[in-house]
């Protein structure tokens, strides 16, 4: 059991290493020459040479990789090419903003969708299940910005309840921050909740068709007891996986939602960097996003091991 968890955690670290190698390859090796890629065709040989040196491109690739990685581990993500800012200083507060928004959405989305998902599963084929099926299908099909703009149209422009732009700054109080981020959080919630609900429903349904559920009914147990006592303990592991998967999706979905509400998060930072082709910032943001993603998946797997009775009680 402990060994399994340790193995899984180690796998997470190995994955993270592989991911950073991959990011490095994509940003430094694939383009051939970052310097000419960034400066464009008009650059003279001289400026190129200077710029290459500045980027450290005269060093061999493996050296640059380990240099980059060890610095990143110490928190040094380099310097932005476009505005010469220290990346970590710019990134950290924005990362916190993003986490705040994602956390806000998660707090609403998880209980809502897991609850409704279980309800839809045990009422399979009844009206509540059909309605939730169509509603979630609609929500899944709709792009983030559509939901975002609809919410702005209704709650901000017409009703004036919430601001259309989610400005936050460090000195802002918790509740004001909460108020200002309500619309983006709702947008994210709707997106993720639909996915989570559908996946929860599917995993509970697959459990409800196991022979031991039929056996419980044949023992004369009530429906509620069968669900609570026989189905849910076994559904825990798949539901945890579903939640983690969607939390990861949430962190990524944030990129577009931040753009809609011009929210100062890490997503905006990355999009700006991509538009300006600021490679060190792109690398840094990619690393942070992937780190969150890998971290969530790893912890989900570990949690799933913890709640699996077959693994908890070995032979």
């Amino acid at each position: 059991m402990l060994k399994l968890i340790a193995t899984r955690a180690l796998l997470g670290l190995v994955t993270m290493f592989a991911v950073s190698v991959l990011i490095f390859i994509c940003t430094q090796i694939l383009p051939g020459d970052v310097a000419s890629a960034v400066l464009g065709q008009g650059a003279t040989a001289e400026t190129l040479a200077v710029f290459r040196k500045e980027l450290g491109l005269d060093q061999p690739a493996y050296y640059r990789f380990f240099d980059w990685m060890f610095k990143a581990l110490r928190g040094d993500l380099g310097i932005s090419l476009t505005n010469q800012h220290v990346i970590i200083d710019e990134l950290l507060p924005r990362f916190q903003n993003t986490l705040f928004l994602a956390g806000y959405a998660a707090v609403i989305a998880i209980p809502l969708s897991v609850g409704l998902g279980i309800l839809a599963a045990i009422r399979e084929g009844r009206p509540i299940d059909r309605i939730s099926n169509i509603l979630t299908l609609m929500t899944i099909s709709v792009p983030e910005f559509f939901i975002g703009y609809l919410l702005i149209m209704v709650f901000s422009v017409q009703l004036g309840w919430f601001p259309s732009l989610s400005t936050v700054f460090p000195e802002m109080g918790f509740f004001e921050r909460l108020y200002n981020t309500t619309l983006p959080a709702l947008t994210l919630t709707m997106l993720v909740a639909a996915h989570m609900l559908r996946m929860t429903r599917t995993s509970v349904l697959s459990i409800m068709s196991s022979p031991y559920i039929e056996m419980a009914f044949l023992k004369g147990m009530t429906r509620s007891r069968v669900v609570a006592h026989h189905a849910l303990p076994n559904a825990a592991a798949p539901i945890i996986t579903v939640v983690a998967l969607n939390l990861a999706y949430l962190v990524v979905g944030v990129v577009v939602v931040e753009a809609v509400f011009t929210y100062p998060g890490i997503g905006q930072l990355m999009v700006d960097a991509v538009a300006k082709r600021d490679v060190p910032v792109i690398q840094a943001c990619g690393l942070v996003f992937s780190g969150v993603f890998v971290g969530l998946n790893t912890s989900a797997d570990i949690l799933a091991i913890l709640v699996n009775p077959r693994l908890r009680h070995r032979r």
Binding site: P211, Y212, M215, A216, L218, N234, P309
Partner: protein, 549 residues
């Protein structure tokens, strides 16, 4: 429900279960069970027997007023101890289930909830139904565990399902069914998923349990010999309709209907029929010397030697996990052996499939256990049978089709089947197609991997006859892999008994079965139910005798 109705159905008789005019339909309107009556007295065991699709499990579940998804009970009355259960509301039905009538399923390993300890699941019924306190229920469970000969009964219950073996779980499920001291047990193929040697243990215990607590039983199975050991009466079903019902003795010895007579005859055939010795030529086709095979670090076949002659059938028997199927994979080249030699007609055969020539692949063909997955559902029979013809002999499209038609005729299938797809065929017909596909390569040796065990007995009988006929006509050699000693008896010239990867015996079939036995062979041979009502008793007596001696 009116009181007069109650009186009428009770009628003052001793019937604990009375099902009348039961009709069950699928949601698409197909009738699964048609006008079936079931009457069960207190303490009596009724065997429900029939082929797959006869509707016997559906009837068993209907007795509990339970219908699986996709089917529903559309007619008839079900009366348990004077109460018409179809007229009860949901709560009333729940009161019946588990408490008055309990269920034992075929596969215990999937019928236990992996999240809870066995004892909690066994005690759940009496506690939730309010029959016992937790302490009482646990004490009763321990008594049942002891009665069922479970190892360490005091601590067994605290295991989780995945920590117990299949045979143990099957017994634990019997305990779970008995936990509320029900009046009726529905036993749905309770020993079918078990190995023969385990099956007999569980059978003995179930029989004892039913007798000791005077429970009535509805014993559902496809195996006439098994039901003969436990049932007082037998009801034969086919396609959802009743064929006949009678006492066990009458059904076995004086069946009224032709269908029943054939069922009995198939089971009895092994007593008389033997392999035809004339087909065997003194010409060794396949020789295996000291072969060992492993999956990773796990050695599954250990130093096996075997020869097969032209026109000969060599059977390899053993329980699941004995390595007999692995041996087949070794011969076909799918799993290269880690040691030993394989020779075909004196020429050494490369170990791995990749290294064998096209012709070396052609001469050995395989027929699988489950014809449903052995045929590509998206191809027509013409493509399935024609492909090897074209592949090995490079025939034109026209010649290929002509040959495919010949092959269909050879396996006794109509010519117009050539454009059908496997889905439109019955199980027996599919297996014939598999045989035709093997024959299409003009092989010299066909490996038969449990060729009849997925088929219903009457269909299996036909396929066996076909195989015997083809052996004579085409001078084929067979290697038969099976757990079914009946089949071995009837078609194998020589038999190898396999245990944990090695042969414990390899001799002519006659000598293997007549003894003197290797202890394991004896265990295997005596565990096969024989169609006599007193077989189980005789085995028990014999065991007691050896134990005391």
């Amino acid at each position: 429900m009116s009181s007069s109705a109650t009186n009428e159905v009770t009628g003052g008789d001793q019937r604990i279960l009375a099902i009348k005019g039961l009709r069950i339909e699928a949601l698409n309107g197909n009738v699964i069970v048609d006008n079936v009556d079931v009457n069960l007295k207190r303490g009596e065991v009724l065997g429900l027997i029939g082929e797959s699709g006869a509707g016997k499990s559906t009837i068993g579940l209907a007795a509990m007023t339970y219908a699986r998804a996709g089917v529903r009970i559309t007619g008839g009355t079900i009366v348990i101890d004077g109460v018409s259960v179809r007229d009860l509301d949901a709560a009333g039905r729940r009161e019946m289930r588990g408490r008055r009538i309990a269920y034992i399923a075929q596969s215990a390993s999937s019928a236990f909830n992996p999240a809870h300890q066995i004892i909690d699941q066994v005690c759940e019924g009496p506690i939730v139904h309010g029959l016992m306190t937790k302490a009482e229920a646990q004490a009763w469970a321990l008594e049942l565990f002891r009665a069922l000969d479970l190892p360490n009964p005091d601590t067994f219950g605290f295991r989780y399902p995945h920590q117990a073996s299949g045979g143990q779980l099957q017994r634990a499920m019997a305990a779970m069914a008995m936990s509320c001291r029900p009046d009726i047990l529905v036993l749905d193929e309770p020993t079918t998923a078990l190995d023969v040697t385990t099956q007999i243990e569980v059978l003995i215990l179930l029989k004892r349990l039913i007798k000791e607590y005077g429970t009535a039983g509805l014993y559902i199975t496809h195996d006439l010999a098994v039901v003969a050991q436990v049932a007082d009466r037998i009801k034969v079903l086919r396609h959802g309709k009743e064929i006949e019902e009678g006492t066990t003795n009458d059904t076995l010895h004086a069946p009224k209907m032709d269908y029943t007579a054939r069922l009995v005859a198939v089971r009895g055939a092994s007593e008389a029929e033997r392999a035809n010795p004339d087909t065997v030529k003194d010409d060794v086709i396949l020789a295996i010397e000291n072969c060992s095979a492993a999956y990773g670090p796990l050695t599954v076949v250990n130093g096996v030697s075997l020869t097969i002659q032209r026109g000969e059938t060599v059977a390899v028997v053993g329980e699941s996990g004995s390595g007999k199927s692995t041996l087949a994979r070794v011969i076909t080249g799918l799993l290269p052996p880690i040691a030993g030699r394989i020779a075909f007609k004196g020429e050494p055969l490369p170990k791995a499939l990749k290294e064998r020539t096209k012709d070396q692949k052609r001469i050995i063909q395989l027929v699988y256990q489950i014809p449903d997955v052995a045929l590509n559902p998206r191809q027509t029979l013409g493509e399935i049978i024609g492909r090897p013809v074209h592949f090995y002999f490079g025939t034109s499209a026209e010649e290929t089709r002509k040959r495919a038609l010949e092959l269909l005729k050879l396996v006794e299938l109509p010519a117009d089947f050539i454009d059908r797809r496997p889905m439109q065929l019955s199980g027996g017909q599919k297996q014939r197609v598999c045989v035709a596909r093997a024959l299409a390569a003009n092989p010299e040796l066909i490996i038969l991997d449990e060729p009849t065990s997925a088929l219903d007995p009457l269909v299996a009988e036909e396929v066996l006859k076909l195989l015997k006929r083809l052996q004579v006509e085409l001078n084929l050699s067979y290697m038969l892999i099976t757990h079914d000693l009946d089949v071995v008896h009837r078609i194998a010239h020589r038999t190898a008994v396999m245990l944990k990867g090695s042969f414990v015996a390899f001799d002519s079939t006659q000598r293997i079965f007549d003894g003197p036995y290797h202890p394991y062979t004896e265990k295997l041979v005596t565990a096969v139910p024989v169609m006599r009502t007193d077989w189980l008793e005789s085995v028990l007596a014999k065991r007691a005798a050896t134990a005391s001696a």
